[in-house]
Symmetry: C2
Subunit: 195 residues, 2 copies
């Protein structure tokens, strides 16, 4: 059977772009509802290419999580490493990264990491560990930045936790359909916690 478009000796698609699209499918649907059919539709690849390139569904999910970290953690890192006059400014800068991501129309609602955290029982051991590691990384980054901004050790620990919590809540509210204005209100209030 003949094809209008040529076949291949080498890959006929952009692996990185395909991974980005697969990540979006997991992001939008969550691990369980991200069927292989939805992944093939979302990436444009067929089953053979998907399995041949990324391995099974769980491996693709882990690669998507890593890709998520590689994409967004640098943004948080940049925001946190900039000089801040106070812990409040650190929190505001961090949450602004989240708000910007949520406002990005080319990306699904919510947050892949938060989605995955709520569905931990559905993930295999490696994916669970990866989720925990990613959360810990963000928590550490926040704590360090808060210390640098002049917070005491206790304040930094507490505020890092609360900022992480606010981040999660923004993801949930976003997925629940709350308007951007409400998300901004929540983020602004979180930055007013310390005195």
């Amino acid at each position: 059977m003949r094809k209008l478009q040529p076949m291949a000796g080498r890959k006929q698609f952009d692996v990185d772009e395909a991974l980005r699209r697969a990540m979006h499918v997991f992001w939008r649907w969550g691990y369980s509802e991200a069927s292989v059919d939805r992944l093939t539709d979302g990436t444009g690849l067929n089953r053979s290419s998907l399995y041949g390139t990324f391995g099974d569904k769980s491996a693709l999910f882990q690669k998507s999580l890593e890709r998520y970290a590689q994409t967004y953690h640098p943004l948080y890192s940049e925001a946190l490493c900039a000089p801040h006059a106070s812990p409040s400014a650190v929190i505001a800068a961090y949450l602004q990264v989240t708000l910007n991501r949520i406002a990005d129309p080319t990306v699904p609602d919510g947050c892949l990491l938060t989605m995955s955290a709520t569905q931990l029982p559905a993930l295999d051991t490696k994916a669970q560990t990866l989720v925990h590691t990613m959360i810990d990384t963000l928590r550490t980054m926040l704590t360090q930045a808060l210390l640098t901004a002049g917070a005491t050790s206790q304040e930094a620990a507490d505020l890092a936790l609360c900022t992480l919590a606010t981040n999660k809540s923004l993801a949930v509210l976003s997925r629940a359909g709350f308007p951007p204005k409400d998300l901004t209100t929540v983020a602004a209030a979180a930055a007013r916690i310390p005195h």
Copy 2:
């Protein structure tokens, strides 16, 4: 739940208790991962009794959501309707209900409503509407209580939103495995937002 004598002419199980257990299965696993097998295991009923009593999976899920509301909304209502000296006290009382529920070892981690909100795309229209309605109900209850406690209209709206957000974040953190101490810290910080 079941008798040694196998059959029956009338129901051989407590319908309300079965619904409570089904609710726990949805609560722990989320809608997608709550397979009928897990529901039969969790309730002790077999497929026939489950379908004959509650209808299909979506109907059972909706009944579980309603059961959740009937169980916990009164607790929030009680906490909110008690006299409070300040908006902060209202927030603390509300979040304490959530902390108590999360601390309850007989119940899954997190919050069925939050779980469902993050998985809205996987739910059918009626379930989606039900989730939105339940969230709106809680939001309205909070706003009213905050107004009663002396908040201005704007304050009440903002604080109700932020308290709802904190509630969601507690659910996510709980499912992510954060210890109760961390949840208490987050709730306490949320009650310190207003001045």
